[in-house]
């Protein structure tokens, strides 16, 4: 990994180049923008009057804009790009119809932009994690289908019939997204169901997105990158299979708050499911330690492997925290507080983003034919890793403080809000580090993509200069 140039990419990597450039490049830009919105939202807790005059950046719009850009701008396209490359590589086949996938990727980014404009101008749907307005949702769905058709084609025409765990995770993640996204858009935005059924559908969607789709899409990368970079085979396929099945079975029942105005059994099912998620979390812990641990490992100082390992451990931590918070006794304290926020942010930034960074840093040099300097990757790691912890952990602490006061009716409400404010302000520091990390990431991805084109241009130029008419030569 020290050479500055890699061997020229093989045909499989070359076939993924244009779609992955479009997916990864756009996503890196959205990530940086989403951090900017995240910071704008956080400013509310430092000085509520600061951005109050600006309708676009008021908390109730900056926050959903952040969420929209993180999930749909950064998360989905990056995961999809990594998934395409994994399916092509593991299936030993070139990506099918990369041109159309590239078109789909560009259409997707257009949809994200339309959704963003809708949200900041007040057209948000009002449902969390699905704020994008109906017209943007249609664009995203079409773009997603355009890309995934060729993803499935690439999979089914594969030359290598045996399946590796990453492939299950990619396929299930794609399948999951199509189902939950279409259900939520149809039942919440196209033909809205009535009354609390809306809340049930929205929570079902959010639960599946955060507790199934995110782990599936992320672990596909983890199970590929970990063995690859630590030079050992995946410890156990059966454990991976076990994780796959349990995440799908239990995760899909999470999402309903304990206290919600829904039939009581729904909350109870969700608490139980969240508690059962501890099972795949522990299995993941064993798998990660057994695969990437061991004495002869080169120490990890912020390379690509660190991203993947840290990500996996944060998923375990977030899942354990979610299980604790779902227990009805604890839920009375943590529900409605910053604790939930902290747990979700740990999942989003600590696990999902970090794991996808690992994927991009592993894949992008291979398809662009340019090595990225380890120092650039390390710089990103040492911003993003502490950033995600500094963002999430204070919110967890502040959430418990806030929750204990909320549960005691004798404490005036303003005091419950104040109890968390200091911790929320500390977490802004983490948000700032993450934003800086996002800029480094954008620079890294941009550099890799541009340097490919620069090399291409240089080659064209030398070819053009070296070219001489045959008649003259002879």
């Amino acid at each position: 990994m020290t050479a500055t140039t890699l061997p020229s990419p093989g045909p499989i990597d070359r076939s993924c180049r244009s779609p992955l450039f479009a997916l990864f490049g756009g996503a890196a830009g959205w990530l940086a923008l989403s951090s900017a919105f995240g910071l704008a939202a956080a400013m509310t807790f430092h000085n509520p009057a600061l951005l109050a005059g600006c309708s676009v950046l008021t908390f109730g719009r900056a926050y959903p804009a952040w969420a929209h850009l993180f999930i749909y701008g950064f998360g989905v396209p990056t995961a999809l790009g990594a998934g395409l490359w994994l399916l092509a590589r593991l299936g030993r086949i070139k990506a099918m119809n990369p041109a159309l996938i590239t078109v789909g990727a560009k259409l997707w980014h257009v949809g994200v932009l339309v959704g963003l404009l809708g949200i900041v101008t007040g057209d948000s749907s009002g449902f969390e994690w699905l704020e994008l307005p109906r017209y943007a949702a249609v664009i995203l769905f079409l773009a997603f289908m355009l890309m995934t058709v060729w993803l499935f084609m690439t999979f089914s025409w594969r030359a290598e019939p045996r399946l590796y765990p990453s492939q299950w995770f990619v396929l299930a993640a794609v399948f999951w997204f199509i189902w939950i996204f279409s259900t939520a858009v149809f039942l919440l935005q196209m033909h809205p169901v009535r009354g609390v059924v809306q809340a049930a559908v929205a929570w079902w969607f959010a639960g599946n997105l955060l507790n199934v789709w995110l782990p599936l899409a992320g672990l596909a990368v983890t199970f590929y990158v970990l063995p690859k970079l630590s030079g050992k085979p995946l410890h156990s396929y059966y454990l991976a299979l076990f994780i796959f099945v349990t995440v799908a079975l239990f995760g899909s029942w999470t999402g309903m708050p304990v206290q919600a105005p829904l039939p009581a059994w729904m909350g109870i099912f969700s608490s139980t499911a969240a508690a059962l998620m501890v099972v795949p979390a522990l299995a993941l812990g064993i798998l990660v330690v057994k695969t990437s641990g061991g004495g002869d490992q080169p120490p990890c100082f912020g390379g690509v492997l660190c991203f993947a390992k840290f990500g996996a451990f944060m998923l375990i931590l977030a899942t354990l925290l979610a299980a604790v918070a779902a227990c009805p006794v604890m839920a009375r304290v943590t529900e409605f507080t910053w604790f939930t926020e902290g747990q979700v942010l740990l999942r989003l930034y600590g696990f999902f983003a970090m794991t996808l960074f690992a994927a991009v840093y592993h894949i992008l040099p291979r398809i662009s034919g340019r090595e990225i300097s380890p120092r650039r990757v390390r710089a990103h790691f040492w911003l993003a890793m502490p950033g995600s912890l500094l963002l999430a952990l204070p919110l967890l602490a502040g959430g418990v403080r806030q929750g204990l006061r909320l549960a005691d009716a004798a404490v005036p409400f303003q005091e419950t809000a104040r109890a968390a404010v200091l911790w929320v302000r500390i977490s802004t520091l983490g948000e700032t580090l993450i934003a800086l990390g996002a800029l480094v990431y954008l620079a890294n991805v941009g550099w890799l993509i541009l340097s490919h084109y620069r090399a291409l241009l240089k080659r064209e130029m030398t070819d053009a200069l070296a070219w001489q008419p045959v008649e003259v030569k002879s």
Binding site: A52, S156, L163, L171, F175, R194, G195, P263, T337
Partner: protein
């Protein structure tokens, strides 16, 4: 797993289960919910909102109020309270009747003044027994069902939220955050439109240590015409506009306030019983129920 179809089958089965449970079943159970009748009055509930309040609901959604304010009340148990309203002609008789029907209520009963809260009993059946016994002895008593829990003690609502409460909401937003207070009963606890408008313009004018951002873009600052506008905000001190200017709410602000004032959830329903407070004298003032 050896084949792709097995992967899809696993994913399909798992997701189909959860889709059935959390999407299809709630739709079958609650999707065709009709307006209910309040108990015991028998009024239709919920009542559809006015046009302006419905527009306000759109403003509420578009500004993302749900990211700080929940609209769902939880409840931890219920207490049943018996209140003696009249001792009739024979106080001693009533006292012995109470002693017979519910001994622990009689312990504190002095009968010196009515109405007098006798105490709490385990359930409505016991309370009804006591009331019947008192009535037979010539006295009168009432029973109040008082839901309990931190949300209710904070006076965010009078009872737990149920599916009926959201029936006429175009976009249902129960919310999962309480960075600001719950708004289930905002129309009852903060019934003044002027308070609401001031709070939206600059929260610190009415709640000095508020953490809420203001929404000045819902208001217009303009030169005072021949006469000051009747709906100009009564601002003073640091919040006051420059001399000769006034701050008036836009239609959006008016609609949002109409919506906030329409937020009430205190109708007693069969599935969430509550005894409304006796008189409308406390209207507009936050009063602890206990």
């Amino acid at each position: 797993m050896k084949s792709g179809s097995l992967v899809f089958l696993t994913a399909f089965v798992a997701l189909a289960f959860s889709w059935t449970g959390f999407v299809l079943v709630p739709q079958l159970q609650l999707g065709r919910l009709e307006a209910a009748k309040t108990v015991p009055a028998g009024d239709a509930y919920p009542v559809a909102r006015s046009g302006q309040a419905r527009q306000g609901a759109e403003v509420y959604r578009s500004l993302g109020c749900v990211y700080c304010h929940s609209r769902q009340i939880g409840q931890q148990g219920t207490t049943v309270e018996v209140t003696l309203t009249s001792v009739g002609t024979n106080a001693a008789n009533v006292l012995s009747a109470i002693q017979k029907a519910a001994p622990h209520l009689a312990a504190t009963a002095s009968l010196a003044s009515v109405p007098q809260v006798l105490g709490q009993v385990a359930d409505t059946a016991l309370a009804d027994d006591a009331v019947t016994a008192i009535a037979e002895a010539g006295g009168e008593a009432t029973v109040a069902i008082l839901p309990d829990g931190p949300d209710i003690r904070r006076r965010w609502g009078r009872r737990r939220s149920v599916a009926q409460d959201y029936l006429y909401d175009p976009v249902v937003q129960p919310g999962i955050r309480r960075f600001g207070p719950d708004l289930t009963d905002a129309g009852a606890t903060r019934a003044s439109a002027e308070w609401q408008l001031l709070h939206l313009y600059a929260p610190k004018t009415v709640v000095p240590d508020s953490t809420m951002p203001g929404y000045p873009f819902l208001f217009v600052e303009r030169k005072i015409g021949k006469t000051p506008a009747p709906d100009a905000l009564p601002l003073s001190g640091t919040f006051a506009p420059p001399d000769g200017h006034e701050v008036v709410p836009t239609e959006e602000a008016q609609a949002l306030v109409a919506y906030l004032l329409s937020l009430r959830a205190d109708a007693p329903l069969y599935e969430s019983p509550v005894t409304p407070p006796p008189a409308p004298a406390t209207n507009g003032v936050a009063v602890a129920t206990k």
